[in-house]
């Protein structure tokens, strides 16, 4: 029987009485050693040992005690291992952050942008209203364009000098740019979602699908959730109130934004939300592990929708 040690200095097979019987040393270069630890070098070395006829014990040996056998003292062990682990963590963190994180930033970015646009539009309506209070234009984008055109007839508003106008028009132009940016981001989000989560997109649309990924934290986390959790994502307050105080449980969280749910009759919303959530759970797993659109899944949701609505 031999015990194995996996360390930043190398891999070691240790027999009874701490005798080193096989060793695969790693380069004493933090980056190179980290790459070896991140790859499958250790597993290959272990299967090599089996071929040599060694009987391997379960579990790993204390790495610091193992390297003593090749003359590495504690201080040097800690110094070098720390540098290797920093490099290894960099490799692993990078690999853990997939393109689904771009989805989350994009959908949150869209929310921020919408909030900013709303705040600034309200300011601008007050501002330009000093000059042209009679202007009735409900549509924000059209209102902004009217500011830039600046044509008014008889008005009880105050006069603006050239400099006064520049200030308010500069602001209007910037908000118009924000509308353009929003349209661009929405288009980008569609593309990103179709690439990374085609099934979620087909079932829920890019925006809602992206929100679900965001609520879960990542596509992987969403794919590990049961439908019942997905159903109430975004309704945490109501859910915990239910658990603590026994109020009725929430029927839907962010999936309420799905047109088939919010347009459905009240009486069947809960049932629809439950089956949609179940299909979304399947969709997220398909997206995570197959990555291709599964038409049967979409068809099965359509069938269920018909059944419930009847």
């Amino acid at each position: 029987m031999v015990k194995l040690a996996k360390t930043s200095f190398g891999f070691f097979a240790i027999a009874m009485q701490n005798q080193l019987v096989d060793a695969h040393e790693l380069p004493r270069d933090a980056k190179k050693a980290a790459q070896a630890l991140a790859g499958d070098d250790f597993d290959k070395w272990v299967s090599g040992l089996a071929k040599k006829g060694y009987d391997v014990e379960d579990g790993l040996f204390d790495p610091m005690k193992a390297v003593e056998l090749i003359g590495v003292k504690e201080k040097e062990y800690l110094r070098f291992s720390r540098l290797v682990e920093i490099e290894l963590a960099k490799i692993l963190i990078k690999a853990a952050i997939g393109r689904d994180y771009l989805i989350i930033q994009t959908v949150d970015g869209l929310d921020d942008l919408n909030k900013s646009i709303n705040i600034m539009i309200n300011r601008l309506r007050e501002w330009y209203g000093l000059h042209f209070p009679e202007l009735k234009e409900e549509d924000h984008e059209k209102y902004l364009k009217r500011i830039i055109a600046d044509k008014r007839g008889e008005s009880m508003g105050i006069e603006l000098s050239g400099g006064d106008k520049d200030a308010v028009q500069r602001m209007a132009k910037m908000i118009l740019e924000m509308y353009k940016a929003r349209a661009g981001l929405e288009f980008y989000l569609e593309k990103l979602m179709e690439e990374i989560a085609p099934n979620l997109t087909a079932l829920a649309g890019a925006n809602l699908g992206a929100r679900l990924i965001g609520r879960a934290g990542s596509l992987k986390k969403l794919s590990e959730m049961p439908g019942s959790t997905i159903q109430v994502l975004g309704a945490e307050r109501a859910l915990f109130k239910h658990l603590r105080k026994g109020t009725p449980p929430p029927k839907h969280g962010v999936i309420f934004q799905h047109p088939e749910i919010n347009r459905a009759q009240r009486a069947i919303r809960g049932r629809l939300a439950r089956s949609l959530a179940a299909k979304l759970a399947l969709a997220s797993r398909t997206d995570k592990y197959a990555g291709k659109l599964n038409k049967d899944l979409i068809a099965s949701w359509k069938r269920r929708l018909k059944e419930v609505k009847q």
Partner: protein, 207 residues
Amino acid sequence: MMKIGRDLATENLVKGQSVYGERLVRKRGKEFRVWEAKRSKVGAALQKGMKIPFKDDAKILYLGVASGTTASHISDLTPKGMIFGVDPAPRVLRDFLLLSETRSNLVPIFADANRPEKYRHIVPDVDMIIQDVAQPNQSQILMKNVNMYLKKGGLAFVAIKSRSIDVTANPNKIFSEFKHAVKGLELIQEKRLEPFEKDHMALLLKK
């Protein structure tokens, strides 16, 4: 470690560095970092009177290190030691990694504390385990790590957030169940963390 007003503070290992926006205070020619008890469960337990011995050369396994707010103070206290900080969340571990590059006694480990064998390539047997993971199976996670890494006679500090184990249950019931689950260890001290944290308890255990 010393008191500055009502707060605890640790002597700064990296002069001029404020890790999470905490105040730096000069006293007797030395620079101290104020340890904000509301941002650190170890800090809260110390404020509540728990005595935790930190040897200056201790090797510590920290489960749930997050961005390293607490670990930074322990780093101040163990200049000749090594803190192995484990966390499975890439976003926060990235911050801890950047902090680790500035402090030679911190090691960032991107792994899940549920699977302690995943970091046996780096973590040797340790003098202390600190656990702040807020997971329903927290006691299991602790025991797996204690069995694999903690030296005989070593200490384990645990922060238990009862709501992360079961929101509906009575905190006292959760705490006593937790103590039962780790009864292989000797209970040295226990403190509730109010007013710094709600429904939290800290335990100091010995192997």
